[in-house]
């Protein structure tokens, strides 16, 4: 009986033929809807911060150097390739690429950093209308994430720390 079942197994294995993919030698195509690493198009990004507010892994940091310059930094370490940043981006500046061969010996290799000039709206600081009422509750104003230590800071301010404005508008929005 057991010899018979072994023979049966051998027949099944022989029928399947050779299935090993020639991956490292030949590249392997990915499915059409595969989401790889998000790629930022710096020419399209307006620095609205929608992606940073909606990233569940808090992988996109915003840092306002001054009124005119904003740094958008994508770290990529714990990015889950969920595509929410690409979904929420009003300018379609983020594309979910098919790149998956991101193995590296230095984690900083997958960072993307965009330094942008912002237009100077003195009233709200940053103009970005979110699609729903819930999303409008998200952080507005100046953002001071800890870019040096790559930490997301859940706080935004209506004034810049480096250039303290007139005292009476020191309202902190948490």
């Amino acid at each position: 009986m057991s010899v018979l079942s072994k023979l049966q197994e051998a027949v099944v294995c022989l029928k399947a033929g050779r299935v090993t993919l020639p991956y490292p030698v030949k590249s392997q195509p990915v499915p059409e809807k595969f989401r790889g690493r998000p790629l930022f198009d710096a020419a399209k990004c307006t620095g609205c911060g929608g992606c940073a507010n909606n990233c569940p892994a808090r992988e996109i940091l915003l840092f306002d150097l001054c009124q005119e310059i904003r740094i958008v930094q994508y770290l990529g370490r714990r990015c889950t390739y969920c595509g929410r940043c690409a979904d929420v981006c009003p300018e379609k500046a983020i594309t979910m690429s098919h790149e998956f061969e991101t193995g590296t010996n230095a984690i900083g290799d997958i960072q993307q950093r965009v330094e942008l000039f912002m237009s100077t709206c003195q009233r709200c600081g940053r103009c970005f209308k979110e699609p729903s009422a819930l999303e409008q509750l998200k952080l507005k104003g100046y953002r001071v994430d800890d870019v040096a230590h790559e930490r997301w800071v859940f706080r935004s301010k209506s004034y810049l720390e480096t250039e303290p404005a007139v005292d009476d508008i020191k309202i902190e929005m948490d």
Binding site: L75, C79, F100, D109, Q111, L116, F117
Partner: protein, 178 residues
């Protein structure tokens, strides 16, 4: 001589130990997928072993958790040198999307030194093979940090000194540049 021979052969017969310190099992499935006949890494001499004492490489999945960090550290210490640590998945590379919850200490590099990172949640089996190929020097890594900096203000600036009065109208003289 024996040492040289050992070092030469190290890259050709990586015995891997598979350590999950609190991931969701997605990465484990992908690592096991790499060992199936479809990807068959045993043709490169990579073999899964059951004990860290037999292993050259530790594949870490999942973040360093409060409850498993000690065990991970002990497994690392038990491995004979030379040893490599691969962080597989976004949990091991950066702490995962629950990086700030109470039970997660952070990426595995907080507990053990990591040599190679394979981000993804979970990474494709091809991505894992690629990361291993980078480690043993078969291919070059494809990623490099991207930095973009605008050096010229794209929007023309508004200069109040160019405003001139002209019969009850205020005219901005540089208007064609705006």
């Amino acid at each position: 001589m024996l040492k040289n021979l050992c070092q030469k052969m190290f890259g050709r017969s990586l015995w891997v130990y598979h350590a999950n310190s609190g991931g969701c099992n997605g990465c484990d499935i992908e690592v096991l997928n790499v060992l199936t006949p479809y990807y068959d890494v045993e043709r490169f001499g990579i073999k899964l072993v059951g004990s860290p004492r037999h292993a050259d490489v530790m594949l870490c999945q999942g973040p360093a958790m409060r409850s498993t960090a000690q065990a991970l550290k002990r497994a690392y210490d038990a491995m004979p040198a030379p040893k490599l640590v691969f962080a597989i998945g976004s949990c091991a590379c950066g702490g995962g999307i629950w990086f700030d919850s109470y039970s997660v200490l952070g990426p595995v590099e907080k507990v053990v030194p990591v040599n190679f990172y394979i981000p993804g949640c979970p990474p494709r089996p091809e991505a894992i093979i690629y990361g291993v190929a980078v480690a043993v020097g078969l291919v070059d890594k494809k990623t490099a940090p991207v930095k973009f900096k605008q050096i010229e203000l794209p929007i023309p600036r508004y200069h109040p000194q160019d405003l001139t009065g002209r019969d009850e109208l205020v005219v901005y003289e540089k208007v064609e540049k705006v």
